[in-house]
């Protein structure tokens, strides 16, 4: 009975994390399509949710690799998994509040590292793996994506000359449907599997499954539905940042950014290089700004984003470590209490966020004068050409 309750809480917490992952990462695929008007906001998140759902069923090969090699597997217990997940959820919610795109995978890894350190000490954490699997890819992802997107954007403008022929924007918007779909599909094949891996680990730790088992069908289905539901609700704050606050995105830029992000993501997956979807898509959006002559980039927003990326691992780790100290070897009622308090706190944050709501209706309205200034620098030229 003890383990069943604990296992149930861990599964629910994992699915909640999966939900926040989808919620947080909708922007990765759809922000530029929404910003350029290629898709209506609600249609964009519905399409992304459907493709994330499909992607989650397409492959399970990375399901058991999350945190693999980063901490010693033999010290992982259900309370550690619970604390790690909660740390990641808290970081996802905090960064969503500030509209900052940050990696859910890194938050999860940071959470697992923090909880493990609190429970089993620093010796249970493999520093070399953290550098190789997390830090180096985190640095490389946005650079590679920005480079590809900048070059692609530059050549797209030279080839199609959309500044002289605004009619071409219509076709680039259609192209964005395909490129955004590709990013959504790739996201589903990657991120939903991480939660599948966590739940499978918990089931193995609880001896419900034999070691090295594949995720059961109900786990795959539940994770696919959770990430799709989160995606459908749409993290509109992050979408606004990616679509409007970094740089003003035009359809050719959006197409180049999404195509570059999808290609880098799929190539990295194929090559076994664990790159972050969030870092890749953010880098691609920045690259599309750098690739267009005269485009302005708000480096202060980019800087805030990078700070969030740097803080993700330690912040999620600190929260999870603190929780790990509380729940490690604790009784099930204590863990239930922590889960209830966490649920109440997150509900409070959500209610507070409704005071300054960003929704499908106002995601493209730019309230910040500095953001408007970036758009206004370019819009008059476009409108003049269109007329």
């Amino acid at each position: 009975m003890h383990d069943a309750v604990l296992l149930f809480i861990v599964v629910i917490t994992a699915l909640t994390f999966d939900f926040t992952n989808g919620f947080h990462d909708t922007a990765n695929a759809m922000a530029t399509s929404i910003a350029t008007g290629a898709l209506k906001p609600k249609a964009a998140v519905a399409l992304s949710a459907a493709l994330n759902l499909l992607g989650a069923f397409l492959s399970i090969k990375v399901a058991a690799t999350i945190a693999g090699g980063i901490v010693s597997a033999d010290v992982i217990t259900l309370p550690i998994v619970f604390a790690g997940l909660l740390g990641a959820i808290v970081w996802n919610i905090v960064t969503w509040m500030f509209g900052l795109p940050s990696s859910s995978s890194h938050a999860l890894i940071g959470g697992v590292i923090g909880a493990t350190m609190a429970s089993a000490g620093a010796s249970a954490v493999h520093g070399h793996s953290i550098v190789a699997k997390v830090i180096v890819p985190a640095v490389l992802s946005p650079i590679i994506a920005a480079l590809v997107a900048a070059l692609a954007t530059r050549l797209a403008y030279r080839t199609a000359r959309p500044d002289e022929r605004p009619r071409s924007h219509r076709y680039f918007r259609l192209g964005q449907l395909a490129s955004a779909s590709l990013v959504s599909l790739a996201h589903g094949t990657n991120d939903a599997q991480k939660t599948m891996g966590v739940i499978t680990l918990a089931l193995i730790a609880d001896k419900e499954l034999a070691p090295h088992s594949d995720p059961p069908v109900w786990v795959i289905t539940a994770c696919a539905l959770a990430i799709a539901a989160g995606t459908y609700l749409g993290g509109w704050r992050v979408i606004r940042t990616m679509g409007h606050r970094l740089t003003h995105i035009e359809p050719p830029q959006g197409f180049a950014a999404q195509t570059s992000a999808a290609i880098v993501l799929l190539t990295a997956t194929q090559g076994g290089l664990p790159l972050s979807t969030t870092h890749i898509t953010s880098g691609a959006v920045l690259g599309s700004g750098m690739g267009k002559k005269g485009a302005k980039i708000r480096w202060s927003v980019a800087g805030s984003m990078v700070v969030a990326w740097v803080l993700t691992l330690p912040a999620a780790g600190l929260v999870a470590g603190g929780l790990g100290l509380i729940v490690d070897n604790g009784s099930t009622p204590l863990i239930v209490l922590v889960a209830v308090i966490a649920a109440l706190a997150l509900t409070g944050v959500w209610l507070w966020s409704r005071k300054h709501r960003i929704t499908a209706e106002n995601v493209n309205e730019i309230a910040d004068p500095a953001d408007r200034a970036i758009r206004d620098l370019e819009l008059p030229v476009l409108e003049q050409q269109a007329s």
Partner: protein, 73 residues
């Protein structure tokens, strides 16, 4: 650096991403230019639309092959 990241995999990711990411975008841009030209100049419409169709088919084929390669691994 070499012990922290698979340099061969990294080189492949950079080269393939550059070739495919930039290549597909440029192919699509050629298709867009052809379609806009066809819209603006009906006399050249057939040729331009054929060019656009060829480019779009190439893009589609590359995407299908890429997805297949990733999912079948």
């Amino acid at each position: 650096m070499g012990s922290y990241v698979d340099l061969n995999a990294l080189r492949n990711v950079v080269i393939i991403s550059l070739v495919a990411g930039v290549g597909l975008t440029v192919l699509f841009s050629v298709a867009v230019r052809a379609l806009v030209t066809a819209d603006e100049n009906p006399r050249a419409a057939v040729g331009q639309r054929l060019l656009a169709a060829g480019c779009l088919l190439l893009v589609l084929a590359a995407v299908v092959v890429g997805l297949w390669a990733v999912l079948a691994k």
